[in-house]
Assembly symmetry: C2
Homo-oligomer: 348 residues x 2
Amino acid sequence: TRTLDLAVIAGDGIGPEVVAEGLKVLDAVLAGSDVAVATTPYELGAKRWHATGETLTDEDLAAIAQHEAILLGAIGDPGVPSGVLERGLLLKLRFAFDHYVNLRPSVLYPGVPTPLADPGEVDFVVVREGTEGPYVGNGGAIRVGTAAEVANEVSVNTAFGVERVVRDAFARAQARPRKKLTLVHKHNVLVHAGHLWRRTVEAVSADFPEVTVDYAHVDAATIYLVNDPSRFDVIVTDNLFGDILTDLAAAITGGIGLAASGNVNPDGEFPSMFEPVHGSAPDIAGKGIADPTATVLSVALMLEHLGMTEQAARIQEAVAADIAARIGNETTRSTTEIGDAIAARVAG
Amino acid sequence: TRTLDLAVIAGDGIGPEVVAEGLKVLDAVLAGSDVAVATTPYELGAKRWHATGETLTDEDLAAIAQHEAILLGAIGDPGVPSGVLERGLLLKLRFAFDHYVNLRPSVLYPGVPTPLADPGEVDFVVVREGTEGPYVGNGGAIRVGTAAEVANEVSVNTAFGVERVVRDAFARAQARPRKKLTLVHKHNVLVHAGHLWRRTVEAVSADFPEVTVDYAHVDAATIYLVNDPSRFDVIVTDNLFGDILTDLAAAITGGIGLAASGNVNPDGEFPSMFEPVHGSAPDIAGKGIADPTATVLSVALMLEHLGMTEQAARIQEAVAADIAARIGNETTRSTTEIGDAIAARVAG
Ligand SMILES: CC(C)[C@H](C(=O)O)[C@@H](O)C(=O)O
Ligand SMILES: CC(C)[C@H](C(=O)O)[C@@H](O)C(=O)O
């Protein structure tokens, strides 16, 4: 038997509620197998910041780095100034652990309500770069608060950083039935970064002759996402465009209550981190009504990443079945009821 | 009688086709009034670049600057490298003429096909900043083409630039029945630029006590646009976020075939420029099947900007009636037929 050694950052708001269900389903899918789960909770987020002023210390980082993977619920509450926990905790984890592949699948499960009248079959994955772009924190401002203020934000893109994520995206496209990769950027305006991305995709494509490549400007990509989302298979894009597109992608596939994500360090040098795309939703926290499905699907992504593909698939099928069972069923279930239902399905 | 002295940049692809219909409707709405129209064509775009290598010379700029307003069709063809005409012509015009208000209304006309199952009433306007952000061209790259390449893009935001566009957006919100303004940014990550935008909106709101203010991160805004677009009244945002959101907004309100825009210099120091949001659509150019409605609506925006609000409203009503007449009518009309139909409605 082996032990899956998880760092758990439940976080704020609905975070702890949905994480509990994610772990419940994880236990259920591993029950009877030779894999045991060990979880270590880390008290990070708004509560800790309010109490101590700390976001993520070097000690926290060093301790979390020892684990095999990280499960994160959600971070933030309205009492913390904007940017403090995002930059000081969430993005710090992504950057410190070199999560250069931010993986966000979008699947429209049968029966899921979507705002689109005629979505077609939607099954694509966004490979969002996670360690560069305008997220690097290389901005600054002068004369703040005066009429002469200048505030700059710098998007940093390197051949090193772009190539590794593009290569990862090609490999994922190669492994999928449709074998199609779409680069999304804005190279007609952001000419320097855009041309680096474009040249890199062109160069790497030589190593993946079976993968069809196309390109969309980010503005046009939003049109395709609502008019013809089934055209997409694998999208590779930068950190900011990926942030925007994946929220839109979540919206058309049933909302962020279902959207899972992985912050992946493919090289295995650091633990990868899995989290629902949604936030801490303070308005519904503590009511037991948050949908834990996105966290459960994030657990499946984690298992896939760790090589337990059979268990990952079982969770995904259980979720699909659970969602199908929701159709026409007007009773709203609580967070734990949904977790229980999915756990029961994976178990048996 | 007075003469409306227009510079016309018909451009490439479907540009000349749709501009012809825009001018036809302009003539029709002014027929019998004391306003005459004088148009001066400027040969700019892909054709000129292929022939001469020029995009926009100082002489072109000086000549165009003499006109009262500019009507632009569309720029670009696949034979021109990405960025050349965008940066060298389209954005150069916007920057040279200080078009700091990029105005993009989104109205879902009754009967227009939308990808949304249940859009509700959609009637908002995006006030996109037009002279700053990552569009300023302050990027650069080193070691291009090597494994050590670094390509940066800089978003520049100034108190001067942000305040004037925010003030314009508040004034527009104040003039609308709902009097609501939504700032869209990403201040939890782009903290310097984001906080400048946020502080500016807060400060300017003191001068517009009747206007309700709210905020959405750009990623969340894309969700609202597909799930609840009627929540928006006036959106104010930066150049890049505005580019992305307005394509999505166009998609949900019937597509870029209907989306109009104005690149406005509110101070009147330079001519403002009106153009459909769509591009040159080389695939359908010359076939006479492009929908000229976006250009016609851009002409209406121009008249509104020039104070001819009655004529602008007449065009908008004619377009609404023309669109309503399309419902259930399967015959596809040609570009000129649509122009003729709208012209007939404004005339009579
Ligand atoms: C909370 C925020 C920093 C984060 C991001 O922008 O990446 C979130 O929107 C996401 O998509 O995970
Ligand atoms: C063509 C391009 C430079 C332009 C922009 O990005 O502003 C276009 O997308 C638009 O929205 O007018």
